[in-house]
Symmetry: C2
Subunit: 247 residues, 2 copies
């Protein structure tokens, strides 16, 4: 049996190792972090726009997303966050949130006080640098999404997202063999892609019809990686991952 705190530490280490190798001292320092674990059902806010935060939130199980709302029920999701991610890492330097973070699935998060993260990064510059690089990769992903929102068709945009998610999940061991769990609703997908749920549904049907992907019980199977990459003009450089054969 693995305790929740051990699991939190595990996903965090796995994520950081996907950015840079960790020294034994760095691992020990991470192990001393106090993780306060919380379970969430889908659709619960973890932090809200306008909140002044004093802790960060590490995703341990499930998916979360950052988002903002507009009038008339419009929502834009800015990013998906998977185990190992710290969606509100920026709150360390800008404590007042300009957006919200919510669970998209059943989720386990571990809360870590800013204080402890500050000590950690002050005494371990290598970890500070890994956290910063992770923030910059998030920024690169924002730009990739902007390109999709502004200039790709719904079809290309969705194909691009599925490529991105595959590499992101695989980097932390949550995908492989051309498949991964996609535990979110079509509404969430639409709010990330800037599309209506109806249109998401139709575009998914085309992607399946063209044998690019298939979906069975919330598992996405990539049936034709090369075609997905081609039509969405996907170039993985922005994700900052080590080069690795894809399939």
């Amino acid at each position: 049996m693995v305790s929740a705190a051990e699991q939190s530490l595990g996903v965090l280490i796995r994520k950081l190792e996907s950015i840079a190798p960790l020294s034994p001292e760095e691992r020990q320092a991470l192990a001393r972090l106090p993780f306060t674990v919380r379970m969430l059902s889908p659709g619960q806010d973890i932090v809200r726009e306008g909140d002044r935060t004093t802790q960060c939130c590490l995703v341990v199980q499930g998916w979360t997303g950052r988002y903002r709302l507009l009038t008339r029920g419009r929502r834009q999701i800015f990013s998906f966050h998977i185990p190992g991610d710290i969606p509100d890492l920026e709150s360390l330097h800008r404590p007042v949130m300009d957006h919200s973070v919510a669970s998209l699935t059943k989720t386990m998060v571990a809360l870590i006080p800013h204080e402890n993260l500050r000590e950690l990064t002050a005494s371990h510059p290598g970890l500070a640098s890994a956290f910063w690089r992770s923030t910059l990769v998030d920024g690169a992903i924002f730009r990739a999404w902007m390109l999709g929102l502004g200039r790709r068709s719904a079809f290309e945009h969705m194909a691009h997202l599925f490529c991105e998610l595959y590499l992101k999940l695989r980097a932390v061991g949550l995908a492989g063999d051309g498949r991964y769990p996609l535990p979110i609703t079509q509404v969430d997908l639409g709010d990330a892609l800037g599309l209506s749920n109806v249109h998401v549904n139709r575009v998914l049907q085309v992607l399946r019809g063209q044998k690019l992907i298939s979906l069975h019980s919330s598992t996405l199977v990539i049936e034709d990686w090369a075609a997905l990459v081609r039509i969405s003009e996907f170039d993985p450089a922005y994700l900052g991952l080590e080069k690795q054969a894809v399939l």
Copy 2:
């Protein structure tokens, strides 16, 4: 007569002061930076996607933008950068560019070697923090643009951008009195907003027709700030500026 290097220092100091007050020591350290000045005509690339950089680029005069291209001539501009901004500051930590930076107008830039910036931030944590905050604000602006690209109408989105630009320019003394220079083409505006140039033109006509703005010889005049804020649901919190009366 002000030398180009003095002018570079001036805009940089003004920008940093809009983020955090500077100590005399910090000013002196900034003054010791070597600025290599370059003049550019509109539409020239400063750094290109894929480049491995060894210096950063400070905008001294004119506007620049970050962008990426897709097939069929599609372009998405991710951000506008005005005097005082360092569009490729992130290259300090991720030297391989995942997008390009280009001049949008006649532009003066000052190049600063990474080396010198690293020395500067290592010996002046206050400056390091100001640079990071600036990077995080850029990230917040990305999210604001994503919201516009994904979920606002063209009309709302453009109104929102005009509000944002007013506050950004005013923060460094380049706007005031409800007006500012808007020296870019409708094509550039469209590539930032995810719209065709034709549609940009038509939306501009509506904005003028409703007496929200007017445009004379590349000067944008805000005729009805309150209405712009209302229709675009503009909330300036994300820009990280000090509170200040708007008009």
